[in-house]
């Protein structure tokens, strides 16, 4: 007999989902996850989410990119010491252009790596505790509770106007 259950409340109305989230925060139940078809500021505010750290990866990529691009151009020029159009061998303006393009390229690589790292993708196990309707028009609010509170949690979601789905019968 499991000691804990996860229950998902499925709402077609974003405001009701937000209301359920707010109520769960003041309850003995544990809010596990919210799945939504769109990014929602109301849900983010209700969950009091912190700002993502993806930007640090992007910044690190950009800085690495600028120096990689500039130094690559400088290194290749220094191999021959040819004067082109009267410019110095290590010419700042043209090499800055190469540095700029590399900045963008590496910043995007950093951004993608940051997204993969922070979102922990690819992650196919999460699909087991997920309802496909959440990619359509439902907002899924998942909370966990003790075995004796299961009926209470189900009733709570029903009272909030949601459809109830017990998604895990095992311990969470």
């Amino acid at each position: 007999m499991p000691t804990e259950y996860s229950v998902m409340g499925l709402f077609t109305d974003e405001n009701r989902a937000v209301s359920a989230i707010e109520a769960i925060k003041d309850s003995p139940w544990q809010l596990r996850r919210v799945n939504s078809p769109i990014p929602s500021h109301k849900i983010s505010d209700a969950l009091e989410l912190k700002k993502s750290k993806v930007g640090y990866f992007t910044l690190a990529g950009g800085i690495t990119g600028f120096f990689s691009g500039f130094l690559l151009a400088a290194f290749t020029a220094s191999q021959w010491h040819l004067i082109v159009s009267g410019k110095p061998v290590i010419a700042l303006v043209p090499f800055f252009i190469v540095g700029f393009e590399f900045t963008i390229l590496f910043a995007i690589f950093g951004n993608v790596m940051g997204l993969i790292h922070q979102m922990q993708l690819p992650e196919y196990k999460g699909l087991e505790q997920y309802d496909p309707r959440c990619s359509g028009h439902h907002f899924g609010v998942t909370a966990s509770c003790k075995a004796q509170d299961l009926e209470g949690l189900k009733l709570f979601f029903q009272n909030k106007g949601g459809e109830v789905k017990v998604i895990s019968n095992g311990p969470v």
Binding site: T12, P37, S52, V98, L105, L115, M119, G126, S135
Partner: protein, 438 residues
């Protein structure tokens, strides 16, 4: 748009992914034949030599470079619509963003082929890559052509990643409604996306950075393309106005191509409630704006030639409207600057047929703009006895037709296999708070 619900958006877009009928495959087949024609012409050129193209002395840059600049230009408005308008929170971009981003990816791929074709000995292409080699040969990064290699490859990489990242939530929607092998494929490519709040938190931030980085990139890429010309001392090219002029022209042509692509798709896939006339009207209004910038640039070039009293500049700007390529020049002026002015009248920018016809005129005009800039200047530069004429050979025509077929071939494959409208962004545009089911 107020009639739309989340369910209706999903239904409308997913309907387009159902197995196509014979007419679709017939069109795809015809386009594939066009692609094969282009490939055959290229193979013939490789086997025979670059002499089979119409390029000569002094016109060593012909349709290959014209098409390169044309396709890079087409690629630009995809990023404009998806990145710049995203940052500006322009809601009308949402229905056309995905189609425009896809256009960008395919157009950059095709643009990237033309320098290879133009090289002649295409197997030497690795000379442009900074790969250590036994002769210690390195690229000259002071050359605008090397700027181009770096800029275009960055643009292709960034726009492809932007496109895929933007599509991730939509791929999950398809996965959740597909069955069999299709479900397995979409499960893999959607990377296990569930729309969990933790995922959205990072995704929204990451997407914003994508848009913020793509915006300066898009401006830099066509500036770099313009410097291929402007850093040469050829009359008609050596001017500081080229970078902004090329960027405006690129967006002008890209927006026109968005209309050319979206209008048939809207009709075929019954997207009328998603891609409303209002959306198309906003594209038309932007075309007026870019058309006026292009007109101002044309006029400024002539003014600068006259004001500078430089005899070579004066000569080339007399030659363009009256010389051997005058027809191309006037097609360029009429199609790019005069025809778009029709969009000042509401009837023209709200009538689908007119929108489509005018977009075709702008596409033609923008191709001729590159033709006039590239050909007229090198065929008529400094010394009269070195002047010459250029006309594309049948091989060049074959490759050009092949490139257009390849673009539409890839696009047709895309619209039947991946979501051509961003369902997630449409849902965001429809609004949050109301009940989202029917």
């Amino acid at each position: 748009m107020s009639e739309l619900t989340f369910e209706k958006i999903d239904q409308t877009v997913l309907e387009t992914l159902k197995p196509p009928d014979r007419s679709y495959w017939l069109t795809v087949g015809i386009l594939f034949l066009g692609v094969l024609t282009g490939a055959a012409c290229w193979i013939y050129q490789i086997l025979t030599g670059l002499g089979v193209a119409g390029m000569n002395n002094p016109v060593a840059w012909g349709t290959y470079l014209i098409n390169f600049v044309f396709w890079v230009g087409i690629a630009h408005s995809g990023t404009l619509i998806s990145a710049i308008l995203h940052l500006l929170r322009a809601g009308w971009r949402n229905p056309i963003a995905r189609a425009a981003e896809t256009m960008t990816v395919f157009a950059v791929c095709i643009a990237g082929l033309f320098p290879f074709i133009h090289l002649g000995r295409v197997w030497m292409v690795f000379y442009m890559l900074p790969v250590p080699n036994q002769r210690n040969l390195w690229q000259n990064f002071q050359s605008p052509l090397m700027f181009d290699v770096v800029a275009i490859s960055t643009y292709l990489t960034v726009s492809s990643l932007f496109w895929y990242t933007g599509m991730l939530p939509d791929l999950a929607i398809i996965r959740d409604r597909a069955t069999g092998v299709r479900k397995k494929i979409f499960k893999i490519i959607s990377l296990g996306w569930t729309g969990a709040h933790e995922q959205w938190r990072h995704y929204a931030r990451g997407y914003l950075f994508f848009a913020a980085l793509a915006t300066p990139l898009v401006i830099s890429v066509h500036s770099v393309v313009s410097w291929d010309f402007a850093l040469g001392i050829v009359p008609g090219w050596h001017t500081t106005i080229f970078a902004p002029y090329f960027v405006a022209g690129a967006i002008h042509s890209g927006l026109a191509m968005v209309l050319t692509l979206m209008i048939p798709i809207r009709k075929l896939f019954h997207y009328e409630k998603i891609i409303t006339v209002n959306v198309l009207e906003n594209v038309a209004k932007t075309i007026i704006f870019t058309g006026l910038i292009v007109a101002f640039s044309y006029a400024t070039e002539f003014f600068m030639a006259w004001y500078s009293r430089n005899p070579l500049e004066v000569a080339i700007f007399k030659y363009r409207p009256t010389g051997d390529y005058a027809v191309g020049f006037w097609i360029m002026v009429i199609c790019n600057t005069m025809v778009p002015l029709l969009f000042f009248f509401k009837r023209f920018r709200t009538t689908i047929l007119w929108l489509f016809v005018i977009s075709i005129f702008v596409n033609i005009g923008m191709w001729y703009e590159r033709y006039v800039i590239i050909i007229s200047s090198v065929s008529h530069d400094f010394i009269p006895h070195a002047w010459g004429l250029y006309s594309p050979s049948i091989i060049e025509f074959g490759i050009m037709i092949g490139s257009f077929c390849l673009f539409f071939f890839l696009y047709l494959l895309f619209v039947k296999h991946l979501p051509s409208i961003s369902m997630t962004e449409m849902k965001e545009a429809v609004g949050q708070g109301a009940s989202h089911a029917d």
